[in-house]
Subunit: 152 residues, 2 copies
């Protein structure tokens, strides 16, 4: 189990993730995404986990509208949770684990309520649009039923 898992170099990785190579390097530059490893010659290598993270970053960016610094706060928190998961049984310290869990819960709840608020507003907006569409439709129907003044 746990095979070498087919690492991708930056070109392939970028293509699969739907971003540019520059973007991957930039994410690394600002501490958002560290490649899984490097080849002997120094080429970055990305695995499935990194691709998933890029996906997550893009969602937070485009969907939620966070900037990359806010996103870094979120994902580094998640990294620590991930570390917790890894060292789950060989527990560092139970109290520390407890703290991390509490922190994870808190941060996730904060993000959740933020997202929920946004959902509420955007749904309202969507419904307003739907209403307007209906109004336009009924205006058009009205027009079709009305005695259209024949040209000249």
């Amino acid at each position: 189990m746990t095979e070498p898992a087919a690492m991708l170099r930056i070109g392939e990785a970028a293509q699969r993730a739907g971003v540019s190579e520059r973007t991957l390097r930039y994410y690394e530059e600002i501490g958002l995404l560290v490649p899984a490893g490097h080849s002997t010659g120094g080429c970055r290598e990305y695995g499935a986990e990194e691709l998933a993270r890029v996906q997550q970053i893009r969602e937070l960016q485009e969907l939620i509208g966070l900037n990359l610094e806010e996103i870094r706060n979120v994902v580094t928190r998640e990294d620590r949770i991930g570390a917790l998961r890894d060292a789950y049984r060989r527990t560092e310290s139970p109290s520390e684990r407890h703290e991390l869990l509490l922190e994870a819960l808190e941060v996730t709840e904060a993000l959740h309520s933020r997202v929920a608020a946004k959902v509420a507003r955007i749904e309202e907006f969507r419904d307003d649009l739907a209403e307007r569409i209906e109004r336009y439709r009924s205006l058009l129907a009205e027009e079709a039923a009305a005695p259209a003044p024949s040209p000249a």
Copy 2:
């Protein structure tokens, strides 16, 4: 009716709208928001309608994630619809009115489907977050029930 409607100068207007004065001037510069009028001395004057538009712009920007050019496409379209509404009975030309209505419908539907798609994705995201919160909660509950190793 239709009182003078208490025009605001840029300072007040910006404060009420929750943006900077620079932002209002910038919106004007790129043709997004024309002040309702000017004082004799040349000061911009904004009314309730303009404040509402700023509100709308910010929603499209922050909520939907449109850039100001896309927003301009939307609001100028709406301006034309507004003009249609104004000249509703003293119809310019019925066929022109028809065209405008069709266009308005089309554009609004496009925006609506875009927003709807975004709502779907963001709801999914929100639900994922909710799930994770549940997992954290149950982990904490588990921990509380487990035989916590008493210190020393």
